[in-house]
Symmetry: D3
Subunit: 160 residues, 6 copies
């Protein structure tokens, strides 16, 4: 672990780090998170997806669009043109709740960890919004980076 | 708990609910969440805030600005002019990590739960972004609604 | 028909018209439009909606979100908080193609005609985007205002 | 015609297609569309352009700015930095109305068809907005892709 | 003059001030500023406006649209629906340069000073952008509030 | 000085210039500006920064985020992914006021002068916003380009 917080300069002032000398490489990031709810609320999701009221479809789209807004939301994030965004939303009776995974790719000078995490967060918030008429006590849990590849710092994989 | 998902019409199609007949009332929502990290990373936050590199100040501002983008991020959310947004970010050695609380107010026809939750999420993502050079394994946990007031459905308070 | 173009001042300079003395009234607008395609492309839509690849669901959501961006897209449009947006997308073998109808409501000082037309346009562009791998020759036709209510100029209904 | 809708994965879930292996090539797209109006309304445009109230100048600018918002409006569209946007708006007494043509260029991994179509749509909506005080019955017609070059799928030209 | 910086709470943390108890009143703000350039560059503006290349028309539109983005640009600014925006851009041989004045109105709980100042700034930046191929040494000067009305703090008029 | 305003075509119509044949080179721009205020107001800034109420920290962040919005604000500006943004805000008792300097970098086909100027403008407006409760008569002065490098037109340095 490095103690260097790159988003601050030598005087401790926030800045957007200079990445102009970094190589343009292919970069991927995968993030995950869950929305925890009661079994009754989860039943609304699983029935709805099959028949009417596609909660997961709406949340998936929100996550994809959220990934594109990352540099607008996170103050010191570099803007970069993502080349792939996909989200997987799985109802999981064991949580009970919805498990969200996002994969983002780019060819660029900085990584896409924040884009993947923002995609998961936005999808999770949208799941909450779609279901809050049924349950206000839902919780968003375990948003974290699962893996990344590319860039000078190389690959990262979360410990299981 | 109601089984009615208001964001879908009778045919199960997503729509932005008609709130034009709802009363304009004062509405408040409070949401919370945590970013969990190692004690070493947390030390960077607490030292930085005092001396140089104000992680929490940047995240607080991101959360406030994020609240204003809620209806842009959440597909079926009504746009509404928030009249107050404040965020509290507390380093907590017991987590260890940063505890985030957001309070949002409006006078309008819909509640501001999503604005408060979006403020917390955006601040949490920003904390992650500022610190990820030191630790990639941080996790965002426990994003939930603490309380709301106003509107037809009345007040809500999360169980402790 | 009035010859007065209100978006220009006495010198012919564009401005955002002063509506501060207008009454806050309930206002509704309904707009429509079509995306014309071959029967083969339309078959992809109708089969996809039932089984996999929900073109119309994605376009509906894009239309709802597009309505919220109207004042950002149309230079002299007043920003206003819409209180309802719904879109209806119907496959129509007689076109052949997809028929789009959008209904938008607000309580405000200006009408929501532009919001309804923008919702239809955005949904139509999204239908094109989702299907362009199959057919590049699709056309967007007949975008127009069907009806409006509210405001000083009163109700309007398109001639059949 | 291909039956493959690339915006859906094998399970029929919407995603933003992975274009990271596509070549960066020069890409151009030209789109067109019309706003149909009465001869009286068209006269307001043609007189205004010459003397005061530059409807077409405002709509041209809105179209250019609209092209830059394409990936924000169309859910599964890749963000890409356009390198040229130009719009041509011609009053046409034969329609009667305004004929709009947009040309967009980029060097990138995906085409700019949607940017050109969005530019035309936004300009057409703005023409409507500027003139709606005079005529609410205007219609937007014939929005389509005229030609594209670049990319693996090669050139396309609309049939006359 | 008050020493109270309302954008900070008692602990010195930035927040968006609670205005929910403020009255909804009509509010107006007028701001001004100049872009200073050589007489040769100014000649390009004045000739262009008359004949071709409408620098001031483009800048006026940018200023109007900029006013609508104020709460997106200024972190602690409340979002509010402006009810009027107009800009006046006058070539002035005595500067030499372009004199910009913006007037903004709303009915709301906070003032529109920032909207008027943002409109002037955005228009000034656009003038610079349009003319920078001819002169890079232009300067933006004297951006200030001329007058405001409405709200608890009452009217303000700049000293001449 | 060239008399050619590249943002207009041969007919004087505004367009976004075609830069697709320009080389991708490293480009830098540095811009500056000041916010002039009374010594009493400046004292609030300098005390606040040290103890509580970090006016300059908020303005710095607003400037960084503003740089990322440049192509959204300035109609004919090309979108481009900035690779570095930093702002320096110095209280200066001689003004008296705050001196702002912004440095922006990219690797691209157009320069980042407008990004640097927009960063300064947005930071200056934010300083005004944070301090306007104490003094409404502040003025924003001297926004100009200090230097640029890269691109066909080469380097530029403002005369002292």
């Amino acid at each position: 672990m490095s103690g260097k917080l790159t988003h601050f300069d030598a005087d401790g002032q926030a800045h957007m780090v200079d990445v102009s000398d970094k190589d343009v490489t292919d970069r991927t990031a995968i993030a995950t998170g869950q929305v925890i709810m009661t079994p009754e609320t989860l039943a609304l999701v699983t029935e709805g997806t099959a028949k009417k009221g596609d909660v997961l479809g709406v949340a998936r789209l929100a996550g994809i669009m959220g990934a594109k807004k990352t540099s607008d939301l996170i103050p010191l994030c570099h803007p970069l043109p993502v080349t792939k965004v996909s989200l997987d939303l799985e109802p999981d009776a064991d949580l009970p709740g919805v498990r969200i995974t996002a994969t983002v790719k780019t060819s660029g000078q900085t990584g896409v960890e924040m884009e993947a995490l923002t995609a998961v967060s936005t999808a999770a918030l949208t799941v909450y919004d779609m279901l809050k008429a049924a349950e206000k006590g839902m919780q968003i849990e375990g948003i974290k980076l699962l893996a990344k590849t590319g860039g000078k710092s190389g690959s990262y994989e979360a410990k299981p």
